[in-house]
Amino acid sequence: MHRIHRHTANCRNVAKHVQEQLDYGLSSGAYRKIKEHLERCPKCTAYLDSLKKTVFLYQRYPDPHVPKRMRQRLFAVLNLH
């Protein structure tokens, strides 16, 4: 993991860490530095928000339900009833 130093933290580093944060959570030290950056950087904040929404939208997309005829066709193909 790349270190984020308070004075060298740039948006590019933060973008990487923000994704790890989405996945696993970060160590509290790294998390604090990202949080500090996010608090003063509207760009990264907007970016993180848009990434979260991307994932959220695909999660919310409803599943289709299995039509009965599919099951009947499968059992016919396999010679089952």
């Binding site: 973008a15 999660q59 919310r60 997309y61 409803p62 289709p64 193909v77």
Partner: protein, 200 residues
């Protein structure tokens, strides 16, 4: 896996037809839902679904119970999705997703696909109403269909199905770092494709 489930699988392995049909009804939604999320086409998903359960029927004796049954099942449906996919013209070449700058236009951008100088317009609120409207569904379908298959599958397994990076890696025979890197690129790619719609 609950004991009764393993017992059901064992009965089906011994040729018990009713156990097999019960197994199908347990997992039919998972397989159909996953196939649909990958190909975004009900007809194609339905063919993939059938091929998958035909494979399950024929290969069930190979399942040894050491992995989770769903891991084994996902491996089969993933293979069928790959075989079934139409050479879609929409899907961008894998080369362009690997190369830095593959996600976005050529203006000064960093490797996460963001304009280095430009501002990032905030996204509108995501809909909270129960029914997702068809325009938005269309936007989501078209964005993910442009994502190369291997990235699409990682994104769906991890972010939509909620599998761990480890399990995703086992299914796709990828290392955990490879799973993570594909997932990051997939998200950035999709985010870029949704951006125009979500900011207007």
């Amino acid at each position: 896996m609950p004991l009764s489930e393993l017992e059901l699988i064992r009965q089906a392995q011994r040729g018990d037809e009713r156990a097999f049909t019960r197994l199908v009804s347990h997992y039919e939604s998972l397989v159909y839902g996953f196939a649909f999320k990958v190909c975004r086409d009900k007809e194609l998903a339905s063919e993939t679904w059938q091929d998958t359960f035909v494979n399950v029927y024929r290969k069930l004796h190979q399942f040894d119970g050491r992995s989770k049954f769903t891991t084994w099942l996902y491996t089969i449906v993933v293979n069928n999705c790959r075989m079934k996919r139409r050479k879609s013209k929409l899907e961008v070449a894998s080369v362009s997703i690997e190369a830095p700058g593959g996600f976005h236009d050529t203006r000064g951008t960093d490797d996460e696909g963001r304009g280095a100088q430009t501002t990032i317009p905030p996204w509108k609120e995501t809909p909270l109403d129960a029914v997702m409207h068809s325009e938005l569904k269309g936007v989501l379908d078209s964005a993910i269909q442009k994502l190369p298959m291997d990235y699409r599958i990682v994104f769906i397994l991890r972010d939509v199905e909620g599998l761990s990076a480890e399990e995703t890696g086992r299914i796709l025979k990828l290392s955990v770092p490879a799973v993570k890197s594909r997932l990051r690129r997939a998200r950035v790619f999709l985010r870029e494709r949704l951006n125009p719609y979500m900011t207007t």
